[in-house]
Symmetry: C2
Subunit: 695 residues, 2 copies
């Protein structure tokens, strides 16, 4: 599934101009020029500065109009107020790609956002793309090209890194250089006024040197498109995402920083599911997962071995593995015998394999070879706590040589600070990810295991559902009729009709204006019936005393109507559904990620347990089934302690149909089926209360 | 509450002998002698080796019997098979404290455990205490004394560190020395065959140089005593605990390592609550929490400020703060004005306070002074991402000088590797904890906040409940009667009587042998009644169809009896309780931590939600109330969506009484009140099914 790189001009320009270049080494613009000139870029570099002259041995042009061909990319290092006109000059000159370094735009509020709109207007007019403003630029270590002012050029590697924040880029490059981790590409996106994280991910998907995409994101202007691009990418390349601004405090921090719209935690996690992305909580985890995915293949199963010279840290590592869904392998007697042959005397050959105080590098290598050959082992965590005798570097080289080409994942934890840098570099040079604590090493294996599950699930159906049909005609009629009478929340009958049009199971029902009409209607629908008062502004009907259940005959209907329904109001009469487990099914729209479907236990339990699952809509049967299984409601439906299982298939059908409704009907803002009554397996489910809010 | 140090002999011996001392520098015993001789210990050191001679300028004695006075401590560095007799020789010589380095004991299984028993037998005979075997010894930086063979002597500080594992000790000292973090004492406990974690904690509690105790624990041979010691210690000194072996895999890793008995996660967390300890999940968190608690006081409130030069990491930090129960402070207009005066132009003076690209050290200092003076601020996270212009060390010194003596907690995150070591040391020298990521800095503030809650709660009632009365006489009768007829699970009537004797609310009930007897009994108790079949081996009665509820008259009772109760069986007749919310209350005994009380939502929900809270028994009213509030059942009892609140006071009373029952009645292994039916507030609760298992 090769796709063209939509941002190729940023990485393979035939020439680059730096607008606002400076000869003052304390200026950012000097750094940009220096990196372009000295970090390997092979095309021509044209500094532009009204003063002219020469810098770093390059002729300085006094305006971009003067710059000779070929030139495909401009790096604009001017203040915010001069950036718009510079972009326009680039457009006139025929340059189609630009990187805008200046801050002073959307992050400052309304005035800055207007300036960003001016940038977009210029770009539209000239058919340009631009990265930034308020960014640090891009790096490609293979092209090679470095448009940033960060002093260190990263080494070549297979991690493609997308960062909203320039500071995070700089910090990450620093750390990576010290321990010998390389990158394929780095994007500092800044305010994403044009090129955004979705574009960057599309570019990484097309880049043959990128094996894993790692993204640090504050806001996603086109969240839905990011998920779609990711869903196409992740079956082939893993994507690890750190999203800042998921909690109330974090959201506030992001808002003051870049004005980006931050989504809620659960919505973000639902988006990651649809995207096949691996969400992480902090920068350590972003790094830990990325290096594991960059250097190793996923394990075939969850059975891990810890090979160690220290029991305590191994126990901490085992706890961490367990929490990530992995387990300690049971080593066979044959494997234990082989280990005894190659390990130091006294080695405990259970799992963890503890070689105690003084193993030599060759012991690590030999034990690792035994474990990698054992069929009961799916992966290995090597743990070496530096002690007096054995140098960490030698252990690293031995581990690296023994495991470099192994199919099974191997990660290595050597705790320590500066003294183990050389060991870390040796491990990375042999494609073994290095960690400084056992818990972080476990996190690396956990990311590989998570990616295996994502790949096993196959391409996300989210992106591949067949094109959606036009909504059924009667649905439009229902919506238009409600609009005509000014309803924003559909009355129960209109809601039931909308639901029925999408094949959602609703008991037969109708509206009545008088007690006699209600009784006659109940006769037609079949007893027993429920009667609900229909009046504008009643939301939680059970709170308002406007519901009568289990009315068995016409007289009961008439009495209830007379008691409950006021003048000018109506009565909603509905055949009673059979009894069953009450669950809640809902749908809403997120401003970033679009329609979502929710499932959980109904009644008061949804409020006390908040045990609900979310998925982006539309969703597949498999996704619907998975979200049911995640919840306590799902465990109840599966049958607990002798109770018969509920009709899970019927719930799956409801979730899928509701997902299609939301995907097709832009007019619908929210739907609540609360409750959906689920009968025993094979007996169906009934949406007895359909609440639809129009947008 | 000064207590004497029970292990003073290990830290202030008047003389030390090293048995098995070696002149070979690759031997551990050489390292021990070297550290005793060169790491500051001021008393005499007596090497013992049958070869005699001299080492490191010290006379070598050929046997411990020859060693002159004064000598209070022996470090025995012999193989396992020679350690027992050496300990005996020390005992004969009048030495009362010993450290046993050799491995080859309990960690190897039954044979090794027997050898440990021999050590204990010798120690008992001579009134000795020993640390180990399979340990690295102890350090006190103030005494000073270092009995380990670890090359680096830690610097003086206020963290007292207890470690089961020698490797964890070594790694921690290495890291701490590099970044300038000091220790008061370090214990490597090994197999804890005599001195255990509880003894070590008692010693740290008495040590005036220790401000915070940090413990890495694999198993607790006397878990209950550890909790008791901790409950006395934590109102004055915080205790941070990392327990390895809490998951199935971790438990296995620990078992193969030291043969220690590891407890389940929930029990451990309940023990931490009773102990007032702060539990952590890995070594990073142990360090992160300990340095915060060592250097700073807890905040008065949750309102934190992030002072930064980079927005992205600040957002990650804000998310992390939020997840730990902290929040971003709302800065007043006055504070914002003062910040504008002292910060660089363009600084965003909301919270995070973002000084953007190029703040100088003096900007950090000035902004910090403003924030520390602001009444709306309870603590500050300073974040500095190193950039081209400002040296991290200068920022560290400025932050340290501005905040060293502040009452409010200040933590500082400067990301990076070897290049920021000097900055980290400068921060620690000024009592500011340093972190390499914002999430870890947030964890430090979170630990301080957590400790504030622990201290606010006051001394744990766990340790301070008044001495327990003898159990009521009728209770003993019930138990003896059941034992006499071979019951291990009490029949429902015996269970109800036991419960009633402790004041637990049980409806009136009795046993009947015939339908007529049952009907007469029901008449006496009052209708309606429930009838339960009583036969050995029936556990989940509702599964077995042996319960009839709501019997309204004598005829109904007779019919139900005849239908359900077989020959030789009995019928348990009980007046029906009023309806209410069904919760589950239970109690059990943990082999490490003793009796526990459990609370959660009853019925099938306990199985699908597993939403239960645990506390060690006995427990106070406050603890009972807290455990109810933690659960979904508690939120339901508090009243949801118009439903009236339940009788929480009655549940509190039940939990406290059940806790006393478990604390007083060693014979009772388990109690289940499933369900406890909770009526509306003021109407009480009813234990309608009391299941008691004898031990």
């Amino acid at each position: 599934m090769e796709r063209a790189d939509p941002l190729a001009d940023f990485f393979y320009p035939r020439g680059v101009t730096v607008i606002g270049a400076s000869a003052n080494p304390t200026k950012l613009s000097y750094g940009v020029l220096r990196n372009l000139a000295t970090h390997g870029y092979r095309g021509p570099v044209y500094p532009v500065n009204p003063k002219g002259g020469a810098m770093l041995g390059l002729r300085v042009y006094t305006s971009v109009a003067e710059v000779p061909d070929p030139v495909d990319l401009a790096v604009i290092v001017l203040s915010a107020d001069r950036t718009v006109e510079a972009l326009e000059a680039c457009g006139k000159r025929g340059i189609r790609a630009a990187i805008l370094i200046a801050s002073g735009f959307g992050e400052l509020g309304a005035g800055g956002r207007e300036r960003e709109e001016q940038l977009r207007e210029v770009a539209r007019r000239y058919g340009m793309r631009f990265i930034g403003p308020n960014c640090v630029g891009v790096v490609d270590t293979y092209a090679p090209i470095d448009t940033t002012f960060i002093r260190t050029m990263p080494t070549q590697g297979s991690i493609g890194f997308i960062s909203h924040s320039g500071a995070v880029c700089g910090g990450t490059i620093d750390w990576a250089s010290a321990v010998g981790v390389g990158f394929s590409r780095i994007f500092s996106l800044g305010n994403q006024a044009d090129v955004d994280a979705a574009d960057a991910l599309e570019s990484l998907a097309a880049d043959p040197h990128t094996r894993v995409a790692a993204a640090y994101i504050e806001g996603l202007p086109q969240g839905r498109r990011f998920v779609e691009v990711a869903a196409r990418t992740t079956p082939e390349k893993p994507l690890v995402v750190l999203k800042a601004g998921r909690t109330p405090s974090g959201t506030r921090a992001v808002a003051s920083h870049t004005g980006a719209l931050a989504g809620a935690e659960q919505v973000f996690l639902a988006a990651c599911r649809a995207a096949g992305a691996i969400p992480v909580d902090n920068l350590e985890q972003l790094v830990d997962a990325s290096i594991a995915l960059a250097y190793r293949r996923p394990p075939k199963g969850p059975r891990m071995v810890i090979l160690t010279n220290a029991g305590g840290p191994a126990a901490v590592g085992a706890d961490a593995l367990d929490r990530l869904g992995l387990q300690l392998a049971n080593l066979s007697p044959e494997t234990q015998d082989r280990l005894r042959e190659v390990c130091p005397r006294g080695t405990m050959v259970g799992n963890p394999v503890d070689m105690l105080g003084g193993p030599m590098p060759e012991h690590y290598a030999a034990a690792l070879e035994v474990l990698l050959a054992a069929p009961e082992v799916d992966g290995v965590m090597v743990l070496f706590v530096p002690q007096a005798i054995t140098p960490p570097y030698d252990v690293a080289v031995a581990v690296g040589q023994a495991a470099e080409t192994a199919e099974k994942p191997v990660v290595c934890c050597i705790p320590g600070g500066g003294g183990i840098r050389a060991a870390a570099r040796a491990l990375h040079a042999h494609s073994i990810p290095h960690y400084i604590t056992p818990a972080r090493a476990a996190f690396g294996l956990g990311a590989l295991w998570r990616y295996r599950a994502i790949r096993e699930r196959g391409p996300s159906t989210f992106a591949d559902l067949p094109a959606l049909a036009d909504p059924p005609a009667q649905v439009q009629e229902v919506v238009e009729a409600a609009r005509a009478v000014g309803q924003e929340v559909l009355d129960p009958q209109a809601g039931a009709e909308l639901a029925a049009a999408y094949g959602l199971p609703v008991p037969p029902s109708g509206l009545a204006s008088t007690p006699d009409e209600a009784a006659a209607l109940a006769e037609r629908l079949g007893f027993p019936v429920a009667l609900k008062r229909v009046a504008p502004g009643l939301v939680h009907k059970s709170d308002a005393g406007g519901v009568a259940l289990g009315l068995e005959d016409g007289r009961a209907v008439r009495e209830a109507f007379a008691r409950m329904v006021g003048p000018g109001e109506k009565g909603f009469v509905q055949r009673m559904a059979p009894s069953g487990l009450e669950v809640i099914v809902g749908a809403q729209r997120d401003p970033q990620f679009g329609p979502l479907v929710m499932f959980g236990l109904g009644g008061v339990y949804v409020e006390v347990f908040r045990d609900v699952a979310f998925r982006l809509a539309p969703l597949s049967e498999a996704e619907a089934r998975e979200m049911i299984e995640e919840t306590a409601a799902g465990r109840l439906l599966a049958g607990v302690r002798g109770q018969p299982p509920g009709d899970i298939d019927a719930v799956v059908d409801v979730l899928v149909r509701l997902g299609r409704l939301m995907a097709e009907m832009d007019e619908v803002a929210e739907v609540d089926l609360n409750p959906l009554i689920v009968g025993p397996a094979g007996k169906g489910a009934w949406a007895v209360d359909v609440r639809v809010v129009l947008g």
